[in-house]
Amino acid sequence: MNPSALYALSAVEKVHGPAFALRVDEFCIPRGEVFGLLGPTGAGKSTLLRLLAGLEPPDRGVIRFDGRTLVADERSLAARRRMTLVYQRPLLLAGTVRFNVEYGLRLRRVRDAARRAEAILDRLGLLRIARQSARTLSGGQIQLVALARALVIEPDVLLLDEPTVNLDPAYVALVEQAVRDIRQERTLTVVWATHNLHQARRVTGRAALLLDGAVVETAPTRSLFEQPADPRTADFIEGRMIY
């Protein structure tokens, strides 16, 4: 186990219904990297992200975040406030786009919430719809607002669950660029779940392949794609896997 890792999972199990949703023996996520979680639908990517976000407790095992055990209750509130998860199907609250973007800051009672929200809305090209009701947005706009409300918090860890799945190519480029820009400004660890292999190659520096709730292989993204150690990784990357 790498002691400098931001996340360290040990013998973690999560059960949904009769089957294991996730079973991980040892797994680390390094600090400051864009870490990709690859795998088909149902591989356990979203479950792993919810555990990493401290939203759900594992049924067994320990998740350590920055050296401390992460639990899913109020004891880890301070740790949870250093991270945020952008959902594949985000839900916005009743109110304007601006209200939704400011929401995470309001939860933390941040004083200059309006200024920070304005800046992130501008960065993601959402200023023109800032006063619009969140109920009137398209799927792509909802996804962008969800990303804006996550970025405005200025988290140490950004957990992304297929954040560009509803977006057209121009918006995908915008999101990827926004994450790149923010990482140039400050240290940000990103865990990016995707089944888009092209995107994984573009944005992640290191990645893990998940299949049936288990981690098959973890490696630098380039190695994972060019010299996969596990034949299942090669099958997944080459599109030969039928699932």
Partner: protein, 228 residues
Amino acid sequence: MVSSHCGSKVCVPIDISDFQSIVWLSVRVSGAAVVISSLIGIPLGVWCGVSRRLRRVVLPLASTGMALPPVVVGLLLYILLSRSGPLGWLGWLFTPGAMILAQSLLALPFVTAITMHSVGSVPEELGMQVKSLGGSGWQCRWAVLREARPGVLLAVAAAFGRSISEVGAVLIVGGNIQGHTRVLTTAIVLETSKGRFEFALALGGALLVLALLVNLIVLRWQAGRVPG
């Protein structure tokens, strides 16, 4: 004292101060009943609404409670509050307190059931997403309640409607005593039985105006104030 006119002849006069005291007592009794039933019913509805298991048990009970016959509630309270009853020591029978109690009991299932339904309609994932934004347990619950706000306001409006229009229970436990426990509905019954239809109609008009006012306020809250 204002005389009401029936064609060319002058009928029985309407006592303005009597009218005012009836309207004011109705507002006080029903208002207090709505406050009490909301203070109990909204937290109960939220608590049961977020738990699928509790909702399955409590929702049918609360929905059945919405069909409680007011005269039966009035009768049971009468027995409980009468001098020889188990709560007779309170001395509440034929007082506004007994009427508030009766109306609160009748309004409580409305507030609970509608709140529960509204909270249950908010996607379960919403609380989790607020948690992922750094929300504490209370902040997540508050966010769910905020999303359910239109339904909760509807619950309060329904409770007021149930209370202000109720006649059977308040007649039994209040006694329709002039200047003491006479409210709009019981006064309408009395005035109609006495053949004073103008006064009864005036009271009915006041009842409708009150109900309309409360619903307008609630609708304004529901539609307005998009946080920005």
